[in-house]
């Protein structure tokens, strides 16, 4: 897919903006705090209606306004020229595809794949397990509605069980929810195990392009409970009731899974240099892009938020080697890139956007 243009209203610091994005490569240049990243963030919403910078949708609406609107014109491999409209605010969320309302997120997620690269990606390496789960879950949800559905049901089921644990629900009620949670937990675990292996293989290939030497990157799935069948999972929940009741919530299960990223020298978080960590993040994102491309049959758009300028020359060259040349790339930076002539440049100042030249 490719973006053709974007129209934004009351998004972050942007009162109104209209932007032509037809070029293969667009570069938004401007000082910090002018709105470059905000615009990229708006483009990033189209994959799963999630911001890659914050978990709070309400943070996206301009101060003093009740909602924001974003209209995207997209050239799409299977839908053709498509207009997508997202409105979100205090009154709820509304998504329209060529004027038709999309009511279920499950019908929407992954239809417009974009891959954001930002400094925030370092949190995937350095942050809590939840950051890694979020990355994996978004990748898997976008390519597989069955996974998305299972994950949603699993989380919902755990929330219901947690409430039962807190208020002291009957054994019959606990059994009823546990029996229905178990198949989803097993499905989520199986999908994670299989798909993380695919992600791992992409990561190893991509990282080889980016790294300076053979650094042996690895990505492992660390499930909170060993993968098993529905019955054994059910039994585990049953056995853990007492402990879970004491803790006030379900202690084990896919909602506590983790993923381990490392180089041959050791865990990425503890041992890798800053440059290696940035390289790993870029490799993870390109691996995500490849999965989107393979599984959805759609070329994702790469959104590089102030990332390319931060890479050393070797890794930057590696990025260009690893990133397919026919992906649309929209990047930001405080300074123009050295190869400025190969970009369509947009100057950004105080929430307004002007094509350069």
């Amino acid at each position: 897919m490719r973006f053709h243009y974007l129209r934004l209203q009351n998004f972050r610091n942007i009162a109104f903006a209209e932007l032509d994005l037809q070029a293969d490569r667009s570069f938004l240049v401007g000082a910090n705090g002018q709105g470059k990243s905000n615009l990229l963030e708006a483009l990033g919403l189209v994959t799963a209606l999630r911001s890659f910078r914050t978990q709070s949708m309400s943070a996206l609406t301009r101060q003093g306004e009740s909602s924001f609107a974003a209209v995207y014109s997209v050239e799409h491999e299977s839908l053709g020229r498509t207009e997508l409209e997202v409105q979100s605010g205090s009154a709820g969320r509304k998504v329209q595809l060529d004027g038709q309302r999309v009511s279920r997120l499950g019908d929407f997620i992954g239809r417009f794949p974009v891959v954001p690269l930002s400094a925030g990606d370092l949190m995937i390496l350095r942050g809590a397990p939840a950051e890694r789960r979020r990355f994996v879950d978004l990748t898997l949800s976008a390519v597989d509605p069955v996974y998305y559905d299972a994950l949603r049901n699993y989380h919902r089921g755990v929330a219901e069980r947690n409430r039962l644990l807190k208020k002291g629900g009957s054994a019959g009620e606990l059994s009823a929810f546990e029996a229905e949670i178990a198949p989803y937990a097993v499905l989520v675990g199986q999908h994670r195990a299989a798909e993380v292996e695919v992600l791992r293989q992409h990561l190893i290939k991509v990282y080889a392009d980016i790294a300076e030497a053979e650094e042996g990157p690895e990505l492992d799935f660390k499930p909170s409970v060993p993968l098993g069948d529905v019955e054994s999972y059910c039994q585990l929940l049953h056995e853990n009731r007492r402990r879970d009741e004491m803790m006030g919530s379900t202690q084990k299960g896919p909602h506590r899974d983790d993923f381990n990223l490392c180089l041959s020298i050791g865990g990425a978080r503890e041992y890798a240099s800053d440059g290696q960590q940035r390289g790993l993040c870029v490799a993870l994102r390109i691996a995500q892009a490849r999965i989107f491309h393979d599984r959805l049959g759609l070329k994702p758009v790469i959104l590089a938020d102030d990332v390319l300028g931060e890479l050393d020359p070797h890794r930057k060259a590696g990025f260009w080697k690893a990133c397919p040349s026919d992906y649309q790339i929209i990047a930001t930076g405080t300074e123009l890139p050295q190869d400025a002539e190969s970009w369509s440049v947009v100057e950004v100042q105080a929430g307004s956007f002007k094509p350069a030249g």
Binding site: R104, G106, D149, R152, N153, R156, G157, A159, E160, R161, R163, L164, K167, G169, S170, G172, E173, S175, A176, F177, A179, E180, I181, Y184
Partner: protein, 198 residues
């Protein structure tokens, strides 16, 4: 705008599905535009409130002790379709794919929403298991985790080891979807394609 109008507007806004705009339109219509329809409406509301209640047997809407379905002697009393809400029952009746009886739970188990077994119409279901000669239950509950847990609860805690065939619909229903909003064709295929409850 007068205090009485404001009060009516507030009351109307509390009704499900009515936002400020629709509440305003209804209040205007009743008070300003068509005052003569008001008397009839008030009377109808009062009458309905007086006579409409719950069927003692199945929980459906009824005037008197039994609802129209329970009172109908041509229905197959050995088969009972369990639904969450009265509109689900109405939707299935409209599909004319079901000739057995119903049981309306008035909800599904959802601890988050404070709904436990005591809040649902289970006691009269247990009674029916003793008195009616039920051979088959079809569980037509929503296709989400709460609906599924409620099915499980009915199977394990209410029906127990009794030799009763239990099936649940689900075929063709969108995941996360309820019964009321499924179209007749979907409902018919869902009822015909019901599968054994494991």
């Amino acid at each position: 705008m007068t205090p009485a109008y404001e009060k009516l507007l507030q009351e109307l806004k509390q009704l499900p599905g009515l936002g400020y705009r629709s509440a305003e339109r209804i209040a205007m219509h009743l008070l300003v535009e068509k005052t003569d329809s008001m008397e009839a409406l008030i009377q109808t509301l009062e009458q309905a409130k007086e006579v409409v209640g719950r069927c003692q047997h199945c929980g459906n809407m009824a005037e008197g002790e039994l609802c129209a379905v329970c009172a109908d002697t041509r229905r197959d009393n050995s088969k009972v379709c369990v639904v969450e809400h009265v509109p689900d029952l109405i939707a299935i009746e409209r599909s004319s794919a079901w000739h057995g009886q119903y049981h309306v739970l008035h909800g599904k188990l959802s601890p988050i929403h404070g709904v436990g077994p005591e809040q649902l119409n289970f006691s009269s279901l247990s009674k029916r298991l003793e008195t009616d000669e039920i051979q088959e239950f079809v569980l037509a509950l929503s296709n989400d985790i709460e609906g599924q847990a409620t099915c499980h609860y009915i199977q394990e805690e209410i029906i127990g080891p009794r030799p009763i065939k239990v099936t649940r619909i689900g075929f063709g229903l969108p995941s996360g979807g309820g019964v009321t909003y499924a179209d007749s064709v979907t409902l018919r295929s869902a009822l015909e394609g019901r599968r054994d409850y494991e």
